[in-house]
């Protein structure tokens, strides 16, 4: 595998898993990215406004397991960047390398323009992080937990500490439970407290590893609302998740990991667009319709119960009326005819050839 993902264009590792079994992807017209700011068209590392950039980042654990393999990641400033992949695909290992917790085996990583892990002391005070779920001192109150994490930051001003702790608790809706021992907190409350510790200071970058894990739907909605709010203030958010709809709901950009490798990165709009819309024909005459469609070069036909669908390829919408007319002419009783838009999930399956929640 030699493919190198390049920022700005949706690219894919040549020969990535499942690539052989899928038709070649169609280049995405730039207009599809109109809804979101376009990523800088530069190589990772060279873009001065990338909040995170890595080049060839690799981590091989003792025992030989290759957790992250030649990662070239570029997270533009101001984006809400979704870091997507099944459990075990190397997301958390990547985040740990970015946060200076583990040293890469090879390759380089830069956060806020400075090399990691060498610059942890100057970079991390400007970064808030939630890594692999919250971890708290059960015998301390929620408030004292935040005081401790704040005291750990040598750049945090002790005089404003209690104010900032209160503000963070208020922000995540924990003000009322601040005096309770953390061991009495529910998982959702712990998650919020973890988020509060990431918000003790105004941050340039917020790194959230699976922030909605273990939360009920209401809690998930609240966390997502908070992420949007933080992003609206100008903080870049780097959000890892194995939930596709989460990424689709809150992110402007996304990267997809699979088995330690970066499969693709780009704007969410570009990625979703790459799951091509499929032509769907509803008719009782399935066999006959399939025949006509095949004769008009519609590929990847899938006959179903009362419907046939297939890929239009790179023909534009102008081909549709002709196709419909051809079907009617051939005597197919057309009950429905149209395009169904792809989702990020379709894109993911197309890219990796695997379902989600599969350990890579």
């Amino acid at each position: 595998m030699t493919g190198t993902p390049v920022t700005g264009d949706v690219t894919e590792s040549a020969g990535g898993p499942g690539a052989e079994s899928r038709p070649a992807p169609v280049p995405v017209p730039p207009s599809s990215a109109a809804a979101t700011p376009s990523a800088p068209a530069s190589l990772p590392g060279s873009g001065s406004d990338d909040v995170i950039s890595t080049r060839g980042l690799t981590k091989r654990f003792r025992g030989g397991q290759l957790a992250v393999d030649g990662l070239d990641l570029a997270v533009p400033r101001g984006s809400v960047f979704g870091f997507l992949g099944p459990n075990g695909s190397g997301k958390t290992t990547t985040i740990r390398m970015l946060m200076g917790l583990i040293a890469p085996t090879s390759g380089v990583a830069a956060v806020l323009g400075e090399p990691m892990p060498q610059s942890v002391a100057t970079v991390l005070p400007r970064v808030g992080a939630l890594i692999e779920g919250p971890a708290l001192y059960g015998f301390l109150s929620g408030r004292d937990n935040l005081v401790r994490f704040d005291a750990a930051d040598p750049t945090a001003d002790p005089r404003t500490r209690s104010q900032r702790v209160d503000a963070a608790l208020e922000r995540v809706g924990l003000a009322a439970a601040a005096g309770k021992k953390a061991r009495a907190y529910s998982l959702g409350m712990k998650q919020r407290l973890g988020l509060a510790s990431a918000l003790l200071q105004p941050r340039e970058l917020l790194v959230l590893d699976e922030p909605t894990n273990g939360l009920d739907p209401q809690g998930m909605r609240e966390i997502r609302a908070l992420v949007r709010e933080v992003a609206a203030e100008g903080t870049t958010v780097f959000l890892s998740s194995h939930l596709l709809d989460e990424i689709e709901q809150v992110c402007t950009h996304a990267a997809v990991m699979s088995r330690g490798r970066l499969v693709v990165q780009g704007t969410v709009a570009e990625l979703a667009a790459r799951a091509q819309g499929r032509l769907v024909v509803r008719t009782p005459d399935v066999a006959q319709a399939a025949e006509v469609l095949a004769a008009h070069q519609v590929a990847a036909l899938v006959p179903g119960e009362g419907r046939v669908d297939g890929e239009l390829g790179d023909r534009g919408d102008e081909a549709l009326p002709k196709l419909c007319a051809a079907l009617v002419e051939a005597g197919v009783r057309v009950q429905g005819f149209g395009l169904e838009r792809g989702t990020l999930e379709d894109a993911f399956v197309a890219l990796t050839g695997e379902g989600f929640d599969v350990a890579g």
Partner: protein, 291 residues
Amino acid sequence: MSRAEAPALRTGRRPQTAAGFLALFRNELHLTFRRLRTKVLLGILAVLPVLIGVIVKLNTDGPHDGGGGPSFIAQTTQNGLFLVFTALAVALPVFLPMTVGVVAGDSVAGEAATGTLRYLLVAPAGRTRLLAAKFTAGLVFCLAATAAVAAAALATGAALFPLGEVTLISGDTIGFADALLRAVLVAGVVAASLAGLVAIGLFVSTLTGSGIAAMAATVGLVITVQILDAFPQLDAIRPFLFTHYWLSFADLLREPMYWDGVLKDLGLQAAYVAVFGTAAWSRFASRDISA
């Protein structure tokens, strides 16, 4: 404060201040002494002298069998202040190092096990600073533990036995105030002679992600080293065992004070702190934190 929140992000670099730097040291002390475990350990240490005092009292009230106990214990009946030295001599080989082993052994490993270590490091606490804060808290715990034994012994001694002029090991007699000062000095030396163990515990603590394992290893090491120290065949290495000079504090109860053993003890502790402190630092500074 009624100041409205600034709408714009006040991000960018903040300067590191001395107060901010020291905040972690203060917080570490707070964390150590807020723990129920620490309070229980100090409580056990404080009960020990009471037990010794009561046993000595009961024994001397009964018919004297003339058994040759430690010289301190015999002296205790004449002067309650000697219970301080008796209690420290009893606590130093086992109880004090056990509690110190628990606190030092758990210091880093416990945080790794609960996952709080990664949040301290991304705060960013700084690995060297965090280790220094842990070491400082360990030393302060040694002081607190020794003080708990000494204070409880003094109170028990005063309650059960007469106080007054103290006859030293060398046979000289000194006034009570003078003797009290020596007790404080002895307690200080005892606390300092645990410094090497704090460094060892800290080092063990950086090796594992399990607090229990680190505690057990540290306490086990203390016991092993003391067993080794009991073999005359090991004379070549015995002076280098960190427990070897522990009981030399008794030399401070002579007139004039005999500092040789105490200074050797303190020097040895300093060497252990240097060696194991460096080992802990080099291990911790380069370690992958994957817990």
